[in-house]
């Protein structure tokens, strides 16, 4: 390891320490708020109580049914938006005219808060998982279709010309040139789609639902079981962080060197 690498490693370690210290201070303030400053325990539970509840939730497996519902909705929503987004995006990307028409249109729709459609979806599809799946699929469709258009639509023409000059047919052109050229951009869109699908599924569970992690958190809040509610929030944060880490790792692996 040379000196610059050492310096960057030291810098990274220092940033990590600062980040940890920041979190520790937050935890300390939280503890002080519940013990010394006398904030109501119903509004803000003691961190130690939250920890006990967290251990209880995890060790009893009480989280399993809700996690299953949420992940099931997420998987269905993401599968729908990926299938539709990638295929539609590819189709649009094949024509300059279609790109010109649809790219700004889709980008404009993406900019409106799609969560406004949730009441409509609940009316149409009920309070069960279907309305959550529909919302998650709608919201995540846009980053996926837009990045697919960008990926396939802006493949460097030199690559296409080179492949054609060497006799590539349409299928070979797609498999060996268009797909690998577009993949990094599409994967970035899929990662973003995954994140927003997860957010919208959990958010819509907190608004109108029968089950799921979001539903559980609202349920606990309404029953004033704040320590357990906080434990669930911590649990969701950990699940989301884990899923995002896995998806980011997959995306990084597919990038060109």
């Amino acid at each position: 390891m040379n000196s610059t690498e050492q310096a960057t490693a030291r810098g990274r370690l220092l940033s990590l320490l600062v980040q940890l210290a920041f979190l520790a201070i937050l935890l300390l303030l939280w503890t002080l708020a519940t013990t010394v400053w006398g904030v109501s325990r119903i509004l803000l539970p003691n961190p130690l109580d939250v920890w006990h509840q967290f251990v209880a939730v995890v060790s009893s497996g009480a989280f399993v049914p809700d996690l299953e519902v949420t992940l099931g909705e997420l998987a269905a929503a993401f599968a729908i938006s990926t299938t539709l987004g990638v295929s539609l995006g590819y189709w649009i990307s094949r024509s300059h005219y279609l790109i010109k028409v649809f790219e700004p249109l889709l980008a404009a729709i993406y900019a409106i808060p799609i969560i406004l459609f949730l009441p409509l979806y609940v009316l149409m599809l009920g309070l069960g998982p279907n309305s959550k799946i529909a919302l998650g699929a709608t919201i995540s469709f846009f980053p996926i279709v837009l990045s697919t258009i960008a990926g396939f639509g802006h493949v460097d023409r030199r690559f296409v010309t080179a492949a054609r000059s060497m006799g590539a047919n349409d299928l070979q052109l797609f498999r060996y040139v268009l797909l690998p050229a577009a993949l990094p951009v599409i994967l970035a869109g899929l990662r973003m789609g995954f994140t927003v699908a997860l957010l919208s599924v959990i958010a819509s569970e907190t608004i109108a639902s029968f089950a799921g992690l979001g539903h559980r958190i609202v349920d606990l809040a309404e029953n004033m079981e704040t320590p357990r509610m906080f434990a669930y929030i911590v649990f969701v944060i950990l699940v989301v962080a884990l899923l995002n880490a896995v998806v980011s790792k997959l995306e990084r692996q597919a990038r060109w060197r």
Partner: protein, 286 residues
């Protein structure tokens, strides 16, 4: 010259981008005829935007001419002819997601070469350009000169009789360009490939070519063809010879007025789009 002797025969080729009257209309080539003899290196030289790259793309079947015909080895050109000719582009156009070795293999995959044979041919081609040690590198990890060697290896592995090279060393520095030029001259002496080579560089044209076709400013057509009578492989000492300088001066004399013409045309204010139009005329982004 009969078509049998000529590897490529261009007859009355004109090409325009866009329709007459449109803002983006460019008459790139006007009634151009040219014969490339088997086994020679034929340079195309001319001011930017004169259509020399367009002509190369037309020869290779990547662009269909507006009028005129091209025959390659006696066959009329109607599209890419990957068995007869291989391209080397200015920016190497190697696929950045593949290693050098995979890049070379892929060209043969497109051609349907058997898997067992592909491997040997790729190794041989990389050896010929001195890149075997870098076979597992990605293009992004190589220098510009090495990338162009890799692109040349990819073209060589296709074992075509003809190479079409579109300013292959154009983006390289002077020294690298000279070394690659020497290597190409050696390669030419060893194989009996026919090469059509588009260049901006007078020195490169004189050093490499058996014949040089000088283009006029747009709409491009061939003004004169001059012969460089010097056997391959050419040594660096050729560059300091009296003959080299005389030929270079002769070329410059032919080109000088055309370059002025091309420059005054691009200087007109209405040509805001001309950046695009010019690359278009050279066929790079068309």
């Amino acid at each position: 010259m009969t078509p049998a002797q000529s590897a490529i025969s261009v007859r009355g080729v004109s090409h325009q981008f866009g329709e007459a009257g449109e803002a983006r209309h460019v008459q790139a080539l006007l009634d151009t005829s040219l014969d490339v003899t088997r086994g020679e290196l034929h340079c195309l030289i001319g001011p930017s935007g004169c259509g020399k790259s367009t002509l190369l793309n037309i020869m290779g079947g990547l662009t269909a001419p507006t009028t005129g015909t091209v025959t390659v080895s006696g066959k009329a050109v109607h599209g890419p002819m990957p068995r007869d000719l291989a391209f080397v582009f200015q920016e190497s156009a190697l696929f950045p997601w593949n290693t050098v070795f995979e890049n070379v293999m892929l060209g043969m995959t497109f051609q349907g070469v058997a898997k067992s044979e592909r491997h040997d041919r790729a190794r041989r081609a990389l050896e010929a350009v001195g890149l075997l040690d870098f076979a597992e590198h990605y293009p992004g990890q190589l220098s510009g000169g090495m990338r162009q060697r890799a692109a040349l290896a990819r073209a060589l592995s296709l074992e075509t009789g003809i190479l079409l090279m579109d300013e292959p060393f154009g983006a390289l520095d002077e020294q690298t360009r000279m070394v690659l030029g020497e290597d190409l001259s050696v390669l030419l002496a060893r194989s009996n490939k026919t090469i059509v080579f588009v260049t901006h560089s007078l020195g490169e044209a004189v050093f490499l070519a058996d014949r040089v076709a000088v283009f006029s400013a747009r709409p491009g057509t061939i003004k004169q063809v001059i012969t460089i009578d010097e056997p391959h492989p050419r040594k660096p000492s050729f560059m300091t010879a009296q003959k080299f300088h005389a030929l270079r001066d002769q070329l410059y004399g032919l080109l000088h007025d055309e370059i002025r013409k091309a420059m005054s045309e691009t200087a007109q204010p209405r040509r805001r789009y001309d950046q695009a139009g010019e690359t278009d005329a050279d066929g790079k982004r068309s």
